[in-house]
């Protein structure tokens, strides 16, 4: 099937393109891009039987890559399967997901990698990349057979949600992986600090009497792992950075030329520990309409589109276990630092940290609940709240979901350049929708965002030129969408 995506706002960070135009997809590849930037460019011959997708008012971008996804197979099928997880990915605009090795058994040897790859080939709706375990059973005691894992197709190593506590073993892991040219992805937490924590240690944990994980526990491990990366020359990737101190250490290391990259999750960028208070938290005042703050004062917001989206933690009851996640939700100061880190390039990628959990693991006392947020399907809507508030740029946001993750993996980024594989996402940045966890494609319905209103919704996801997800009847005939001029205003001056 061939497609002509018409009148979309094309954002292609790898080519530094942001303009209105059409994309022609033939035989699974991007055939041609006609955009207003190239004046006089005329559509060439359109093959017979090409479906025209009307993308007026929507952003057309390369498909997103998620560096940090738990897919549940093998052994955790009550939480997720590759079929359900990759459908959730497609619904979230992700055309590539990197499967974390925290399965049962862990992905710590080539045989399991082959098994997961076979399931992914059979059931996967999007591309699935494999991350091998650093240590056997993720126990932090003995290295896994990294050469064989790499031969079996693993593109990185991680102990998924755990730090390698022993610094000597971690140093060996970095040296070994370094020789393979693959990144080591680390969850940074010194587990002896704040052992048994349920949330971030701070004013909220003090009020609620929940054991807390101090920010220093993360910062300490980031500092150690950066030191070991410098020592070995290997590439270290910091997963799910959540603290201001962590961002500062990564920024300083990058300035020194250390091979360090980092990712941040949509929830750490937009939510704080006050979500654990739920209805005990002060109810946030709706932000002022951007129009009141001066004409076009806030980049990324079209004043005529009304109020930006905002999130309300008071919709939750106190101690709602859906807010329990690792690393924990931090403070407003940390959120500001994370956004700044994303804007200045300290943080390379937005990664969901998708961690589906079953009801049994979540519907219990807060301190006993499994950590994790099912994040694939709300990722775009969450990060767009920052765009709507003028705290992030739309083009940079798309770049952190496409170009950034590719750079972490040392690959050429997904792009809409003619001749490249047609992994494409189309989203409406202004479509308001209400999160309904029951309707997630993921088996993990664990989200603190249930009943929140988000603005920005995936309309269509294409993997290798085939439609992997389409919202309703999107793009089929009719005028559809709003006027392009509103969106082209956002992109003006790019």
């Amino acid at each position: 099937m061939n497609y002509l995506i018409k009148n979309g706002s094309i954002i292609d960070p790898a080519r530094r393109v942001a303009t209105v135009g059409d994309v022609l997809i033939v035989d699974g590849k991007v055939e041609q891009v006609f955009d207003m930037a190239e004046m006089g460019s005329e559509p060439g011959p359109i093959p017979e039987g090409t479906e025209v997708i009307n993308a007026r008012g929507c952003v057309v971008a390369p498909g997103f890559t998620d560096l940090h996804t738990q897919l549940g197979e093998p052994g955790e099928e009550h939480r997720e399967t590759i079929a359900s997880g990759t459908l959730a990915a497609a619904q979230g605009g992700f055309t590539t997901v990197c499967a974390m090795p925290g399965t049962t058994p862990a992905l710590d040897r080539a045989g399991i990698a082959h098994q997961v790859r076979a399931i992914a080939q059979r059931d996967g709706r999007v591309h699935v990349e494999l991350i091998g375990a650093i240590t056997l059973r993720r126990e932090g005691k003995a290295l896994s057979e990294m050469i064989e894992l790499a031969e079996a197709g693993c593109i990185a190593f991680s102990d998924d949600g755990r730090s390698v506590a022993d610094p000597a073993l971690m140093r060996n892991a970095l040296a070994y992986a370094g020789a393979l040219g693959l990144p080591v992805m680390v969850h940074c937490e010194d587990s002896s600090l704040g052992a048994g924590w349920a949330m971030h240690e701070g004013a909220v944990s003090t009020r609620l009497g929940l054991p807390g994980a101090p920010a220093a526990a993360e910062e300490l491990m980031i500092a150690r792992d950066i030191a070991l990366a410098e020592d070995t020359g290997a590439h270290i990737h910091i997963c799910q950075v959540s603290t201001a101190g962590g961002v500062a250490r990564i920024r300083a290391a990058k300035a020194r030329g250390t091979r360090v990259t980092a990712e941040v999750s949509p929830h750490h960028l937009t939510m704080t520990d006050s979500w654990v208070l739920g209805s005990l938290a002060p109810r946030p005042a709706p932000p002022e309409p951007p129009a009141a703050k001066g004409k076009r004062a806030r980049r990324g917001v079209a004043p005529e589109l009304g109020l930006p989206s905002w999130l309300d933690p008071t919709l939750l009851p106190p101690y709602d276990s859906s807010t329990r996640v690792s690393p924990p939700l931090r403070t407003g100061r940390d959120v500001e630092a994370l956004i700044a880190g994303l804007n200045d390039g300290t943080i390379d990628a937005i990664a969901t940290g998708h961690s589906p959990q079953s009801r049994v693991e979540k519907e219990c006392e807060y301190g006993l609940a499994a950590p994790g947020i099912s994040g694939l399907e709300t990722a775009l809507g969450l990060v767009l709240t920052l765009v709507h508030r003028g705290e992030m740029d739309l083009v940079n946001t798309v770049a952190r979901l496409t170009e950034g993750p590719a750079q972490v993996l040392g690959r050429s980024p997904a792009t809409l350049r003619p001749g490249s594989q047609a992994d494409v996402v189309i989203f409406d940045p202004d479509q308001a929708w209400t999160v309904d966890a029951a309707r997630f494609a993921s088996r993990g319905k664990n989200t603190p965002l249930h009943a929140q209103q988000l603005r920005g919704q995936i309309m269509l996801t294409m993997v290798g030129g085939a439609v992997a997800f389409r919202r309703g009847d999107f793009g089929r005939g009719g005028p559809g969408g709003r006027h392009t001029s509103q969106l082209s205003g956002i992109l003006g001056g790019e």
Binding site: G209, L210, Y319, C364
Partner: protein
Amino acid sequence: MEHPPRRHQVIDLDDLSTEEIEEILATTESMKEVLSREIKQVPALRGRNVVNMFFEDSTRTRISFELAARALSANIVNFTARGSSVEKGESLIDTVRTLQSLGADIVVIRHSQSGAPYLVARHFQGAVINAGDGRHAHPTQALLDLFTIRERLGQVRDLRVVIVGDIVHSRVARSNIWGLTRMGAHVTLCAPPTLLGPSQHWLATWPNLTISHSLDEAIKGADVVMALRLQKERMQAGLLPSLREYTRAYGITPERLAQIGEGTLIMHPGPMNEGVEISPEAATAPNSVIEAQVTNGVAVRMALLYRLAG
């Protein structure tokens, strides 16, 4: 996600107004009068089912609730489960639904996990009283402390109250901070830094607190000194060098007893480690109200049961 109406639950004092606390204390007074009669029973809750759901050992609080329910002629049964419900393979929610089906009207819950009563309240149609959850809250203890202070000193407003001990792990401290500050007292928290945590974490929620690391300084001019139980595990966890040093620096020793005036109330929520956080001399001094606290506990719990059953 629906929240039950507030009047069906007492989980902490954070959502009670000054007026509501006054009302409860006034009802407590009437209940205390009932308990002074020869026949210590009124028919107010006849035919109502109260379940004591204790997931953590506490003979004292359980008996106090039991006597309170009996004094109001309620039917009371005890559901006791040691350890976490998850370890037993039975979920808290399932237990609550079962009690609901068995016809419970009021559930009294004691649990080692902070926040557990909120989970119970979400899944139980009747009334819920928190009898202590983790480090979070112990509202009946705080109310009986307020009642005892007012009974002895005539008021709570403007009093200077020192809470000393293992504050970071204490639900008694947290509920007392809510109750005492709401009723207009000046509260000082006194503890070694390892049993308190950073001051700003407390001041963010309660900006009027005074934080002190010196008991000798804190007790100057105090109207009430409330000592908290020190669990011996705290020393094993490396939070304290020794019990000896703790007692010297933070215990209500005979020397400190002499230093604080005879008009200063000495309180302790029990059970005491005599010789650690409080000396036997201080526990039995004329200005100690520790026994009155226990007596008043029954009346306060009657007042709450009566209020929630209404």
